[in-house]
Subunit: 326 residues, 2 copies
């Protein structure tokens, strides 16, 4: 087994976000549940966009954000996901490559690049409506086994379970990673997503997944409980490392019988939480692949999350490597 | 003469900005002069974009930003400018309309929507490289005389002098506004732009222009002097009202023999100056069309400028009308 040449390869939906501020009334008028992601079709996307206040466009996608975070810290990162042959696909491709991430999945013609309409409420929460478009056209053939073999960690987003073909790609990637004796990391992505695939996700956790990322809501949804301590107790021992992020309360790492609690990093002003969980995972996985202990991994994750909370958009606007000195 | 039903109609290039942070080295390596705008063709745009760090996309265009600012304050605003039939044209159209601006210019097919590649340096200065694309296809036939007749102020950007057809549209709009006994406002836009069209701009100022907007550099460039006091002396009496913005030093309004100096509004942290001048003009013109005295106009202009200095992108992210209470 040769040493890995890639730190983290991420696989997920290749999405351009449209982010706009709106108040709670906008959410209720459009049947949106704050803090969650729902899938919409092209017509629903057009209708919601027509009502959306002026916004900005920024490359997104949960696992793609994580790959960018790892690269921004100075790590070697790769991404697998599919865009369309349109202007937004070119934007996504430009942004991830120029962030230093290896991205070779060819674009699909036919469907437009996936879009996520992100409503940011005054409490900085984000509510996502995703039109998967070309992202759905990811399949097992897109899994570059050579890159996965060469990557210390293969990181997969729960959102990939929605497009049926992508689920097969997800399974192929996990198999390849396990076959090469690499680590598999997995994010639960969203409470509704957990609700759709609870049993399958539980099987993954007791099976091929080594490192789990979840926020409080997702962890509680997984076990259908209201109490975080109960969810943490259930998670204990399900996979090597389980990381639960708790917003302003920091994060908890469960490993063996131990629980490591780390406070949140300081942020002057929280403007938009989009991408915070993805960047936490980036910092944690960078640490894990660079010899940091688990507490330091969690602390770096928190600092990376904090780096995207002060602006609209899911990715860092300046290099995260500056955080490594602090 | 009936009372105006539109406060400000703005005419200019319809542009989507791509904004990215980079350091001074990036500017010098790409032959860019900090704080200025240069025109580039499609090939140059592709080459510069290939090198540009990851960015965000945000609707821009100087006069369009001003129109959005007026609407965001609660004023009646309209915009004339041309986009293409592509995804970015749809983004521009969505953003300006959902900001409450009347925008009826039909898109052009053939050329892509104009793009401005904005490099933001650590000192928050912005350096612009603009590919005019479909914006060049604006002509006199696009000037909606009925709307101009109904607008208290017709606001035009100096940048419009670059595309030859648009210059004719500019002239047509001025003629219509003068014919309807409305005010004509004009922004010098950029020091290089002034350099290209100095004599014509001086003719406009001693002719149809009632209200001039310029920053220090542009005012000095207009008279080819290094000293702002000299430039201010030259400007005095050239048009009814001349407004010179001076960044952190605030702004000066020249009217008759008088000079009104107003300090800059407080900003916690200046992140990106893109759009600050455009939003200053929005606040000033809103004030002018709502019975504020000139000092109050300048103060409101400063507050509107401050509202876009704290984030990447040229337009306000939340309603400016909140500033009217302060």
């Amino acid at each position: 087994m040769s040493a890995p040449t890639v730190d983290v390869i991420c696989m997920g939906n290749a999405i351009v976000d449209v982010l706009a501020y709106a108040d709670e009334t906008f959410l209720s008028e459009h049947g949106l549940t704050k803090g969650t992601m729902r899938l919409i079709d092209a017509q629903q996307a057009a209708a919601l966009y027509a009502d959306l206040p002026p916004g900005i466009e920024a490359s997104g996608g949960a696992a793609a954000n994580t790959a960018v975070g790892v690269a921004s810290l100075g790590g070697e990162a790769a991404f697998i996901g599919r865009v369309g042959t349109d202007q937004l696909g070119a934007v996504f491709t430009h942004d991830i490559r120029n962030a230093g991430v290896r991205f070779e999945t060819p674009p699909a013609s036919g469907l437009p690049t996936a879009q996520c309409l992100v409503v940011v409420t005054p409490d900085a929460q984000r509510t996502l409506s995703t039109f998967l478009g070309a992202s759905q056209q990811l399949g097992p053939a897109d899994v570059d086994v050579a890159v996965i073999d060469s990557a210390a960690v293969t990181y997969l987003e729960g959102y990939l379970w929605d497009p049926p073909e992508a689920k097969e790609a997800f399974r192929a990637a996990m198999l390849a990673a396990r076959g090469a004796d690499r680590r598999v990391a997995f994010s639960l992505s969203d409470a509704f997503c957990v609700d759709r695939f609870r049993d399958e996700f539980l099987d993954l956790l007791s099976g091929p997944v080594d490192v789990l990322f979840a926020n409080e809501t997702e962890a509680c949804s997984l076990f259908e409980v209201d109490s975080l301590p109960i969810a943490l107790r259930e998670l204990r021992g399900m996979c090597d490392i389980a990381v639960v992020t708790r917003g302003a309360d920091g994060s908890s790492v469960l490993v063996g019988g131990e629980q490591i609690d780390v406070p949140a990093a300081h942020v002057d002003s929280v403007v938009d939480t989009t991408g915070a969980g993805d960047l936490y995972a980036a910092g944690f996985l960078y640490g894990l692949t660079h010899g940091l202990d688990l507490r330091a991994c969690a602390e770096l994750g928190g600092r990376c999350a904090a780096a995207v909370l002060g602006h609209l958009g899911p990715r860092p606007q300046t290099p995260l490597s500056a955080l490594l000195d602090s």
